[in-house]
Homo-oligomer: 398 residues x 2
């Protein structure tokens, strides 16, 4: 009854530490390095799925937040409706986080013990409890192609002692996550065998599980976390606990210390990072997968990412500017609309402002990753990186 | 230097008072009866232009609000950017209202004199003044294919005396609107002749102007308003001042009294009306054109229009309902998403809820009008109307 590995990961090109791979899931092929738009509550905010699938964006995988979906609409609803893909109407691949980071970021509202995390729901204030076992069960029902181990995150400025305590807890939870995940899949397969049915339509019996490396800014802890997480054996590995208040230089040191040591034959995922420049810098250090709310959240707040850096559409200088958001961009927004129009929409409080900037920003992030892949495959990544970064820092001419 | 008539209007089928026509503008052919989505501030709220153009909706003409665009971004900005079509990126036909109704609906914030209307801007509180001449100038800069005469609206419950005073003012303003419009076009043509240039790219020198019939619920005033408005000679005629608080039966009496008497060879436009049933009932009385905020505004508020009547997506009964919003609808939203998902989005405050319901509602309104046209052309409108209305009133089975 052994199924094939839930993911197939084949590195097809390398340049220095940078690499490009083909990640094959039950729901389609993903070329890496890849950026995953964040679909918190079952929707990538401000954009329709048809646009995510359109050639402009062609997002092959999106992220769902276990914490949000667990609280609302609730796991029984999603179970009854056949899993997350079917519930939201998305047929391509998904990854769900474990809820660990989301609960951690509630701050004073949560209490962490070895057993798990107790917290108050941001939806209705009720007392909730999340543990590795519960997270695995919820993620199994959600049915994404990739689930994440339940972890704890230490703050960026955590002391060595705090970071070690947090890392040990994460390792403990990683083992429990793995055990629960293995048991779940065995149960699903047993049930399938008994009933002659199959639960594979939502990937539940072939879900991959990634482990998460913690250790805050302490490089020795990061190395230890990596080694001991790899011993547990996951289908891929993530670097967690970055972009949580530490200096950018510290973040890059951690990535540089950790990423090249991560198993070469498995996907390497940097969680919650970052700006276009961060992505390129992390690719150069060996990262394959990214997710970040920046393109969507900043888009809603009137900020566009362009090939010449950030553009704040609220700025009065754009009031009569006929140019597109980014003159180098070929997305449907830049092909059709001017900065002046989008600024007008933003100033008028029109939803379309958020919709257009979200579309452009995602197109920009996804196009950047496409160019990164092409560069690595043609052994031009170092050149591409230099030129891209120079242009990014040159500022908008007008 | 006489240009051809700015609009060509050819009735191609009749059934009773109902009729279907081909309205040809410089920016495309419009089959009537037609519904115009409302694009208040240069955007049909919550939907991208690409969707308006998609086969689901195929909106051939949208409405822009002179009042809103005049105040923000301001007419100088739109002039500098080459007119409304170019500013917003919409190449199909447009109609602009005159600002009269919008200013009227400010209520206590405005003061109406024979010269025009003084009011406080809802944007910055500044004192503004709108008159027939100013409205014509602003609409000329906006450059829609169809402009509307500047009118005053009387409340639904206006007495005969109030309604007469309002009607006389509207007739006075109609003459001034016509004069200003004729003078403007002559000026544009003179300038074109002198400079060898042409302003036709934004339809300014071939803009059509519609007159507006007022008279509140008083049928004698409506007939008088109609006769005297027709004497001024417009390219089309509208019934204004309905759906402003009067009973539905009163509204239908006014339409029934007025529409069949309106010039048969010109478009007849019912302003600001209404529900799908209202549209069908007005078509049966001879109306060709409609605009209304219901599909967009109600969509944003969680209400869907369906072939079995209205559906409130907030209702708990839809929490696990796998059916589409309307099982008879073929729009991209109904093909893909369940009531349960859209309800979840609405409850979570997600923008996508508004976006999806707006798309569906507009698809429903525009599809209804398409079916109306097909029915009239195959002499089946009476049957269609009966069946459509019966189904509409049968309620949602589940």
């Amino acid at each position: 009854m052994m199924a094939a590995s839930p993911l197939n990961f084949e590195v097809v090109a390398r340049e220095g530490e940078a690499r490009s791979a083909i990640l094959t899931t039950r729901r389609g092929v993903i070329e890496t390095p890849v950026f995953m738009p964040v679909g918190t509550a079952g929707t990538v905010k401000g954009i329709r799925f048809e646009e995510l699938e359109s050639p402009d964006l062609d997002a092959r995988i999106i992220l769902g937040n276990t914490y949000h979906l667990w609280l609302r609409p609730g796991i029984e609803t999603i179970r009854a409706l056949g899993g997350l893909h079917k519930f939201i109407g998305w047929e391509r691949a998904m990854l769900t986080d474990s809820g660990g980071f989301q609960v951690w970021s509630l701050g004073a509202l949560r209490k962490i013990t070895e057993e798990g995390t107790e917290f108050r729901s941001h939806v209705d204030g009720s007392l909730c409890f999340l543990s590795p076992e519960i997270s695995m069960e919820v993620q199994s029902v959600l049915g994404a192609e990739i689930a994440m181990a339940f972890d704890e995150c230490a703050p960026g400025e955590a002391t060595h002692e705090e970071a070690r305590r947090s890392m040990e807890l994460t390792l403990h939870w990683a083992k429990r996550s793995k055990q629960a995940h293995v048991a779940q899949i065995a149960n699903l397969r047993k049930r399938d065998a008994e009933t002659g049915e199959t639960q594979t339509n939502n990937s539940r019996d072939s879900q991959a599980l990634f482990g998460i490396i913690q250790g805050a800014s302490h490089l020795d802890l990061r190395r230890e976390s990596l080694e001991r997480t790899v011993e547990i054996e996951f289908d891929g590995y993530a670097i967690g606990g970055l972009s949580v208040g530490e200096e950018k230089q510290v973040m890059m040191e951690v990535i540089e210390e950790t990423a090249p040591r991560m198993p070469a034959e498995k996907p390497r995922y940097l969680m919650g990072v970052g700006t276009p420049e961060d992505l390129i810098d992390a690719v150069a250090r060996g990262i394959d997968m990214f997710d970040c709310v920046l393109p969507t959240r900043n888009g809603r707040n009137g900020q566009a990412f362009t090939s010449h850096g950030k553009l704040n559409i609220k700025n009065a200088r754009y009031a009569a500017d006929e140019k597109p958001v980014d003159e180098a961009c070929h997305c449907s927004v830049c092909r059709r609309h001017s900065r002046a129009f989008i600024r007008h929409l933003y100033q008028s409080g029109e939803m379309l402002a958020s919709m257009l900037l979200t579309h452009h920003n995602l197109a920009f992030f996804l196009d950047t990753m496409k160019r990164v892949r092409q560069a690595i495959r043609s052994d031009q990544f170092a050149n591409f990186r230099r030129e891209y970064t120079e242009q990014l820092n040159s500022g908008l001419e007008s």
